[in-house]
Amino acid sequence: MDKKEIIGLSIVFGLVLSLRLFLVFQTSTFDPDAYNIIRHIDFEKKNLTPLTNDELSYGGRTIVNLPAFSYIMTFFSVLFPTELVGKILPNIFACLIIFVVYLISKDLTKNKFASFVSAINAGFVPIFFAKTTNNISLYALAIPLMFFIFYCFIKINEKKDYFFYFIFSLLLLRVLHVSVILIIISLLLYLLLLKVEKIKTTRKEVELILFSTFIVMWTLFLTFKKPILEHGFSLIWRNIPKSVLSNYFNELNLFEAVHYIGIIPVLLGAYTLYRCTVAEKSKKTSLFVSFSLLIFVLLWLRLIELDIGLILLGIVFSIFLSKAYVFFFRFMGNVKISRLKNAIGILLVIIIISTSFTTSIAYTKQSLKDSVSEEELNALGWIKANTELDSVVLGTLEEGYLITAVAKRANIADKNFIMIKDASQRVDDIDLLYNTVYETAALGVLDKYKVDYILFSDIAKKKYSIEQLKFINDKCFELVYSEGIKIYKPVCVLK
């Protein structure tokens, strides 16, 4: 990269990051899911070891996860306040995608302008932008790293350094997130694709693929041995109860894809995918073709979360955008209106950026609205200060992490379902409690989990479309906190 490119990319990086930070500091809280990481950070700061036995989640459970991301966050949290680290660091990580996409696009097209367009678009993929701004999301780091691994792979034949970068990044991703398995499958698919298209592979590529496959598979089996034995194949769906499974592993819908990725990237990406598969067979592009085909199949079979699948497709389509740009100008060169090609090119870029940019902002603003309210944090703070340490608090599934991380009390359920046998039953019971009109049914649930407090917040109101808990009466439920959010203490026992 020359100096101009570095300056150009740094400006884009700075702009995207500034916008992300501007948005993220509109609220002082996070998305409810972010509090899971905050709990891990708090624990690691105190104990230096990862949280493997959580006494609060589900009233006590084993946690099997990869703690690398929380350790990175913990490291910075030692130096700065956790909230500040949670607001800034994931956004910096997410913005790295701009550099990675630029490098890949430039390598595929040799066209700097087209690569810039791709890089800018990658910075504004709506779903990636919204899902990694205020969530302390692991994907903010994992996704740029995944594409960096691909970049190193396409460069291994050119320079020896990339081989070491590849190994290092792969191992880092391996300790960071299970999405490393997607890299392995797409590399194997890539080998198959090259075989079918009769394109020669180098020995280095085959060796690295073999190595990556075996090392990743083996270490994953070592780490996830217990959950694999416990859940078998359903581990793919993270043991998510059927009643909430569709919130995560939903069907791929074209309109949704257009909305979350952007209309121009979807159209041009799909065209490039078609062209690279059928007409223009390039070895390097085949890697991204195989990756996007894999994501399509996984989405189609609902084997990958819709959000994650769309983020990955959005980034691949951003890369394909540069290819489409090159195809387009090659076509323009052959027609008579070639004089207008610069004007058309710039217009195209403006359309792409403006559509992605506006959708990103709108979508992120929407997701910021779902952040935890100050009122809710105060209520959880009250629980922490005024209840017994061994109290059990019933909240919605979405509030599970909040109860353990902020109130430091045991919950009934949260979104980490792995190694939980009765997850489905617990989720159903929570739903029953918020929906029932019968006091006996509510007391049955409360008695079953020995619940000491019921949290009734805006999240519950919104989720269950209710204004109050219908079974509540003064005789059996004491209102102990009422400042927007209500906290009830059950005082009756079902006989």
Partner: protein
């Protein structure tokens, strides 16, 4: 001198792969692997046999002694019977399969040597086979198969030998094979056809063996068709197909994920000579299908899988690698991966049920008045053999047509909250006792007050007569009044 040293150095590990070294290592590793599940189990304080089929075998031996014979005919029981006059039956149930396994392993080794399999490949095949969960399953959970495999391999080894007497015995053993196991005889037929395609064997000889085997099979199995207990039912499979094939996913036999991956590589490598291997593909498909019904199919499959995986592993090791470090790391990951699957399976075998607590609970039930026991399928044969009580699933296997009906009844009994429905089904199946343990409770019920668990708290219906270390026995009070 220097030249010699350099030469030795260049040969590396392959320099040590002499026939003698391979054999010695193979024998030592075989002894360690065969003996360790039993030794470790004893050292950990569990003195019971592994799984429930050895209890079925013991029961059959006793039945033969008493001239009552409800079991599936199996020559293994008669060999056990002979030895039972010298040694206790529990000890025989360990020693005999271990001994037969050790002998058939040696025969397997001799077959590979006779087939002039290159030493390195032979070592890999033996390594992969010895570390495959299916192999460990064969002599621990399903001991009678060791004798079948001994006969199977011996007949093949003799077939490869020149003397007429060897061929005669080979022929004899082949035609006896259907008596041992129907699947073994089918596999033998396919293996003969495979051998005919790939080895210099007289076609007439193969034809003769196949025809005679078919004749014996027909005459042996035709009358049995009318008896319901033709084959031992599959007791172990509760998993999906993939979970059964991949031992790392919790299957009680099957193969490690790395061995499967290597076998796939081996499959791709050998695809060029597919015409010669059609029968092996047929065998793989057949065994995968039968594994849905009989878990021991994996034992037969493990030989083929080991060969394909060894081809895959050999290909990876012998490949000219540009990146030496990556080669070393990949091969290490592969070997560690294979060993990891093996050790992980081994731990499950050592800790598998039944244990002393289970047996003590069943012995506690023994003096009680006879009545059908309701529990999970894993107690099949144990209840009948140890507690001397009829078991709901034993009954169903004696009449397999009723099997599905009984399974349905048990499922309803476990999950109903309707007292009247429970009473009707308990009466219909003549159930007098219920045995539950923490494993069954965890698997069957998600909550403590679900289905049968809530019914057991009804003291007008049930009385707890035993509760120790997670095992509970309940007496159904209405059994006698009914």
């Amino acid at each position: 001198m220097n030249i010699n040293k350099n030469h030795k150095k260049r040969k590396g590990i392959f320099g040590y792969l002499t026939e003698r070294n391979i054999l010695v290592c193979f024998l030592i590793i075989s002894i360690v692997i065969i003996s360790s599940p039993f030794l470790l189990r004893t050292l950990l304080g569990n003195h019971q046999l592994i799984g429930n089929i050895p209890y079925y075998d013991s029961k059959c031996v006793e039945d033969i002694k008493n001239n009552s014979f409800p079991c599936v005919f199996d020559p293994y029981h008669y060999v056990q019977l002979v030895f039972s006059f010298i040694l206790p039956i529990n000890l025989i149930s360990i020693i005999l399969p271990a001994l037969f396994t050790f002998i058939y392993l040696i025969i397997f080794y001799l077959i590979l040597t006779n087939l002039k399999i290159e030493r390195f490949s032979k070592s890999l095949i033996l390594f992969i086979f010895l570390t495959s969960p299916a192999f460990v399953y064969s002599y621990t959970f399903y001991p009678s198969i060791s004798l079948t495999l001994l006969v199977f391999f011996l007949s093949f080894l003799l077939m490869l030998k020149d003397p007429k007497i060897a061929r005669f015995f080979s022929f004899l053993l082949f035609i006896l094979l259907p008596i041992f196991n129907i699947l073994a005889s089918i596999i033998a037929v396919i293996t003969l056809l495979l051998a005919k395609t790939n080895l210099k064997i007289k076609k007439e000889d193969v034809k003769k063996k196949v025809i005679w085997m078919l004749i014996v099979s027909f005459f042996y199995f035709a009358p049995l068709y009318f008896k319901p207990n033709l084959l031992l039912p599959n007791l172990e499979i509760r998993n999906t197909f993939f979970q059964s094939v991949i031992s790392d996913l919790g299957g009680m036999a099957g193969f490690g994920v790395f061995v499967i991956m290597l076998a796939l590589i081996g499959f791709v490598v050998t695809i060029k000579s597919k015409e010669k291997l059609y029968y092996s593909y047929l065998m793989i498909v057949l065994l995968l299908v039968t594994s849905l019904y009989f878990l021991y199919s994996f034992v037969y499959l493990s030989f083929l899988v080991s060969i394909f995986a060894a081809i895959g592993l050999r290909k990876i090791i012998k490949m000219k690698w540009q990146l030496k470090l990556i080669k070393t790391l990949t091969i290490l990951a592969l070997f560690y991966g294979i060993i990891f699957s093996f050790v992980s399976f081994g731990v499950r075998v050592v800790n598998s049920e039944p244990n002393d607590n289970t047996i003590n609970a069943l012995l506690f039930l023994k003096p009680y008045e006879k009545g059908i026991v309701l529990s999970d399928q894993k107690y099949t044969y144990l209840v009948e053999n140890v507690a001397d009580m009829p078991f709901i699933f034993d009954e169903s296997f004696k009449n397999q047509r009723k099997n599905i009906e009984i399974k349905n009844d048990v499922n309803i009994l476990f999950h109903t909250r309707d007292v009247e429905e429970l009473k009707i089904l308990m009466h219909k199946n003549q159930i007098a006792y219920v045995i539950l343990d923490s494993d069954i409770k965890n698997r069957e019920w998600k909550l403590e007050d679900d289905g049968l668990l809530i019914m057991l708290t009804n003291d007008r219906l049930f009385k707890n007569i035993y509760k120790n270390q997670g095992i509970e026995i309940w007496e159904y009070k209405l059994y006698y009044t009914d």
